[in-house]
Every structure is written in structure tokens, then in C-alpha cells.
């Protein structure tokens, strides 16, 4: 229970960092960041083996941000994990910043790949997992992707290959918030029944509520503990804007519009809800 309380605080701080970055830039994929904060909290405060002061440590678990536009959420997680300093948050999306709007490996410590051209993370993850196995390095590769990337053929090329090569060191995380650029993902290009699809491709599949910290924690642990020689996928159903009710209820959109005074309002509401939960900030 203590760990869940700590993770709740982590998720709260990740949301708060993301909102502060959104305020700096006046925009950002904040809906996704708030929705995915719980998954990132468990990844960076529980599941991943890493050394914050040594982002390139050979023994680290690799976390690939295939959906580069989630950078705002990912930077918040890196701040929470101690990989980049909180003070750097004010540079988000600014000239010469290490924190560009779309995540790039060449800019940011702890950013493993340059994502953003969607559907590339999983193919890269397959190569890294093969490479780690060849080096007899026991680290895991976590490929994080959005549900929109299920449209990309390369995702399924990689899904076939991961199963074919029995990549038990590969975990794919899919954020299902059901929002793409042109509307609900299911309407843009239907992807259900999703768990069945991955299972048919030869993967170990879990589908959980991505905003239920206990369920997320359990899924990460189960994926890692599995003793089968096959890749694992965790499908996370998440709520865009989670934690800030007026953003949760805003007309659903890939890119949620937030007006200038609303950033402070969102942070205030987030802080209040954290206090009412009785968890010290």
C-alpha cells in the first residue's frame, strides 16, 4: 500500500510538471500526458531498472517513446525519475532547449529514440531486443506507443518478427485513449478486438485500466515475471485529461485546447484533488 501511495504522488507530480510545461509553451499534448501519467509513474518509479545520473548505463532497461508527441509527458517522467532537473522544465519547447516539442534522442538524456514518425518504435525495439540477447544483456526493452500507431503496417511487421524471434525481453505498452488527429481512433481505423489481434500474433497480452495504479503495477510485474519465450504487450485504456475534470470533460480531441488562464486553474484543481486524497504533496 505504501508503494501505491508513493506512485500516486509520482503520478501527481508528473501531471503537475506536464501542466507547467504546457503553460510555458501555451500548448502541448497535455490531454495525453494527464492520461498516461499513471503508466509513466509505474514505469519510472517501479518497473524500469535505471541509473538517473547515468542515462546510458549499459544495464538499463530501454524505454522507447515511439509516440514522440508524448514528449511533454515523458519529460515530466524524466524529471520525476531524476534524469533531468526540474529547473529545466521552463525551457520546454524553446530555442536551444534539450526538451523539444517532439522527442528526439539527440536532444534529451534518457530519450532512447527519435520518435514522432509513428510506427517506428516497435521495429527499433525488435532490433534492440535482438541486440541485447546477442550481447547476453538481461535488460528489457519497453516500447511505448499510441493507439494511432496500430494503423501503421510497420507495427504489425514488428509484431510478427518479435513473436517469430521469441523476444521475451520485449514489452510493448499501448496507450489506448481512443483519440487520433481526425477523431476517435476506432472511427479513424477500427482496431478492435485488440487483445485478440495481439494474441493471434503470438504475444502475451494484458489489457488493463491505465488509470488504475494497482492494475498498472500488477501488469508491469506480470509482463516481466512471465517465463515464456515470447514478447509481451500491455494495452492500457486511459482517459485523456485524467486528474483535471474540466479537461477530462472537454470535447475530446487529439490536441486539447487550453486557454491561457486555464493552466493555473488546472494546476490548482490538481493540487486540491491531491490534498483531498490525503496524500502529502
Amino acid at each position: 500500500m505504501k508503494e501505491l501511495q508513493n506512485l500516486r504522488q509520482s503520478a501527481y507530480r508528473i501531471r503537475r510538471y506536464a501542466l507547467r510545461m504546457g503553460e510555458v509553451q501555451g500548448q502541448g499534448y497535455i490531454g495525453q500526458a494527464l492520461g498516461y501519467a499513471d503508466v509513466l509513474a509505474v514505469a519510472y518509479r517501479h518497473a524500469l531498472r535505471l541509473r538517473p545520473s547515468e542515462p546510458q548505463w549499459e544495464g538499463r532497461d530501454r524505454f522507447l517513446l515511439s509516440h514522440g508527441h508524448y514528449a511533454i509527458a515523458f519529460y515530466a517522467a524524466l524529471i520525476e525519475a531524476g534524469v533531468i532537473p526540474e529547473s529545466e522544465l521552463d525551457t520546454y519547447g524553446s530555442d536551444d532547449s534539450r526538451l523539444p516539442m517532439s522527442g528526439m534522442a539527440t536532444y534529451t538524456p534518457g530519450m532512447e529514440i527519435s520518435g514522432g514518425s509513428l510506427g517506428q518504435g516497435l521495429p527499433i525495439a525488435v532490433g534492440m531486443a535482438l541486440g541485447l540477447r546477442r550481447k547476453e544483456n538481461p535488460a528489457f526493452v519497453y516500447n511505448s506507443m499510441s493507439d494511432g500507431e496500430l494503423d501503421e503496417g510497420s507495427t504489425w511487421e514488428a509484431a510478427m518478427a518479435a513473436a517469430h524471434h521469441g523476444l521475451s525481453n520485449l514489452v510493448c505498452l499501448v496507450d489506448i485513449n481512443n483519440q487520433q488527429a481526425d477523431g476517435p481512433s476506432g472511427k479513424v481505423l477500427g482496431f478492435e478486438p485488440l487483445a485478440d489481434k495481439w494474441a493471434a500474433f503470438g504475444w502475451h497480452v494484458q489489457r488493463v485500466d491505465g488509470n488504475d495504479l494497482a492494475a498498472v503495477l500488477e501488469a508491469f510485474d506480470a509482463a516481466r515475471a512471465l517465463r515464456e519465450a515470447r514478447p509481451r504487450v500491455i494495452l492500457f485504456d486511459t482517459l485523456m485529461g485524467k486528474g483535471v475534470p474540466f479537461l477530462e470533460q472537454r470535447e475530446k480531441n487529439h490536441f486539447i485546447r487550453v486557454d491561457p488562464p486555464e493552466w493555473q486553474e488546472a494546476i490548482r484543481i490538481l493540487d486540491e484533488s491531491q490534498q483531498t486524497e490525503g496524500v502529502p504533496a
Binding site: 529514440i113 527519435s114 521495429p123 525495439a125 541486440g131 546477442r134
Partner: protein
């Protein structure tokens, strides 16, 4: 067409997908790429091989047989091939990824651009059937691959002439830090350059023969053609120099400028590639920027068109890159 003439010529068949570009009786070496890679890998445990269901057709099957634990079959999935090659390179391995040039470039372009080149990863893409080396039509003829690949920052591009070029290029592209795209000749590959006191040096153009009347600047197997044409034209008292440019990018601009300046009345760039975006345009740009103006300048590449299917000798003749057709073009340009 005169029917009497047409009846005299035998109608050739397209034959195998990979028809040899070697002339009958020409000296060849079998599988120079595969053999060179197997040899190099004996001392380079970081080298791994990958393919998209074309190991046998890129001579990579030799590597797969020699080092099965270092060979990764990616299936007929070129985006995966290039993406996963990037992943292996990120883990410190040096992948040699093979497929056909059409699929490697046209289908997987964004993966090469974003995954491999943007991070300057150590991936060596070796792609067969460059330009017009198959009669299977545009689906298999990579006539614009150099144009596409030249657009990618930091990518080294190699277009070898023969078996010697290939076997010497393999260790050098492996030693080079960064991504390389090499056009691959496979199977029985002509052996030509051993007669010219020549060594492949990555990034260097080499003057194979000098001559006062024409300078042919060439890459790939068009260098072999240029050397043949030079011999043929010598009988007509036309003196042809040949500058072989196996590295298309970065281009050896100094050697090109040096070879052209003050010396030749006609410069011809000969390449197994579309005249759009290939070596020809790269040389033209180099000469203009260096204020070097040859008396004449012509492109002996493939036309900006979707090429026909058919037998290779027919197509090489039709598009002006056979020995006879190239010689005739140069003579015409001289008149």
C-alpha cells in the same frame, strides 16, 4: 522499324530476375559481397547480417551459413528491416542489411531517414538490383535510388563497379562510423579493375586512364562500360579518360574539378541511374560551384522515365548504356 532488320535480330527473353551484367566470356568473381563479409566478420564479432527474405539473392546467405547466430531474418518487411537494423546499431552492433534497392529505398525511406540517419547509426545497407540490372520493369528497377538517398543528410553512398570494388569496399564501409548505402552487384560479378592499378578508397575518385579528347566520369558498372568504350574509340583516334567515382556521397569534388579543369573538350557523366538526381547532377553542381566550364557536358544516364521490361542487353541498348550505345552517344556528342 524496317521489318527486314527486325527479322534478323533474335528476340531475347527477359530470363532470370537477376541476369548477369557480365558479357560472354568476361572474367567474373562469384558472390564477392558475401565472401568479403564472411571474411571480415571472422575478426569483427560486432558485425551482424539481416535481410528481408532476400539473403540468397543478395549473397548474404553465405554469411548466414557461416554465422547463423549472427544472422537475423526479418521476413519480407523492409520497414522492419531498417528499423530493427537501427535498433541493433543502437546496441553497438554493426548490421549489414540487405534487400533489393527498390524495396530498401522506396519502401523503407522514412525508416532510413529517421531511425538510421538522423542518429548517424552504424547501419550498412547493401541493396541489390541497382538501376537497370533486371528486366523485370519498374517494380524491380531502382533507377532513382541514388536521387532519394542523396537527399538524406550524412548518408554515405557507394556505387561499386565490379567484384574488386565490392570486396575492397566491404571492410571500409564497415570501418566507417555512420550509415552507408551501397548498391550491390551479386552473383557472378565482372572483374575489371584489377587491370588498372586500382584500389577502392571510400570517398575517393580514381582516374583509371587519361585521355585528351573526352573525360567520362562514372560510377557503378558504367565505369566498366566507359573503359570498354575508351578502348573502342581509341581505334577511331579518340582519346578517352575515365574517372571512376564509386563514392557518390560525399563526392570527391577535388578530384572531379582537377580532372575537368583546362583539359577536356567533352565531359560525359555515365551512370546506371536516372539522369535526375544522380551522379550527373552532382558533378554538374560541383563544376558550376567551382567555376569550371568544360567545352561540352552530357549526361549518359537512364532517361527520366519508367523503363521497359525485357532482356537486359535489349534494354541497355535501348537506353544507351550498352558498350555500343554508349560509344555511339559519345561519338555523336563529339561531332
Amino acid at each position: 522499324m524496317n521489318t527486314a532488320v527486325a527479322e534478323k535480330k533474335p528476340r531475347l527473353t527477359t530470363s532470370a530476375m537477376i541476369a548477369s551484367i557480365a558479357a560472354e566470356g568476361q572474367r567474373v568473381k562469384a558472390a564477392p559481397f558475401g565472401k568479403a563479409l564472411v571474411e571480415l566478420a571472422a575478426t569483427r564479432p560486432d558485425i551482424v547480417g539481416m535481410t528481408a527474405d532476400l539473403a540468397k539473392y543478395t549473397d548474404l546467405h553465405l554469411f548466414a551459413q557461416a554465422y547463423p547466430e549472427r544472422f537475423f531474418q526479418m521476413g519480407m518487411a523492409e520497414q522492419l528491416l531498417m528499423g530493427a537494423a537501427g535498433g541493433l546499431a543502437k546496441e553497438g552492433l554493426v548490421p549489414f542489411a540487405t534487400t533489393y534497392a527498390v524495396f530498401g529505398t522506396r519502401r523503407a525511406y522514412d525508416f532510413i531517414h529517421q531511425v538510421i540517419a538522423e542518429e548517424n547509426l552504424n547501419v550498412k545497407m547493401c541493396c541489390a538490383l541497382p538501376g537497370l540490372t533486371t528486366g523485370y520493369g519498374p517494380s524491380h528497377q531502382a533507377t532513382e535510388d541514388i536521387a532519394m538517398m542523396r537527399g538524406i543528410p550524412g548518408l554515405t553512398i557507394v556505387d561499386p563497379c565490379d567484384a574488386l570494388d565490392i570486396e575492397q569496399a566491404v571492410p571500409q564501409i564497415a570501418a566507417h562510423q555512420g550509415p552507408v548505402y551501397m548498391r550491390l552487384l551479386r552473383g557472378n560479378v565482372p572483374l575489371v579493375l584489377d587491370e588498372y592499378d586500382y584500389r577502392f578508397e571510400l570517398g575517393k575518385a580514381k582516374l583509371l586512364r587519361d585521355g585528351a579528347d573526352v573525360l567520362v566520369i562514372s560510377s557503378g558498372f558504367l565505369t566498366m562500360r566507359a573503359l570498354e568504350v575508351a578502348r573502342d574509340l581509341a581505334a577511331d583516334k579518340v582519346d578517352v579518360a575515365v574517372l571512376h567515382c564509386p563514392t557518390i556521397k560525399p563526392l570527391d569534388e577535388a578530384a572531379i574539378v582537377e580532372a575537368v579543369r583546362y583539359r577536356h573538350r567533352l565531359v560525359v557523366v555515365a551512370e546506371n541511374h536516372s539522369i535526375v538526381g544522380g551522379l550527373g547532377e552532382a558533378v554538374a553542381s560541383t563544376l558550376l560551384r567551382h567555376r569550371v566550364q568544360p567545352a561540352g557536358f552530357q549526361l549518359a544516364g537512364l532517361p527520366d522515365a519508367f523503363l521497359d521490361a525485357g532482356a537486359l542487353p535489349t534494354l541497355h541498348e535501348r537506353y544507351g548504356i550498352s558498350r555500343e550505345a554508349l560509344g555511339a552517344r559519345i561519338k555523336r556528342w563529339l561531332d
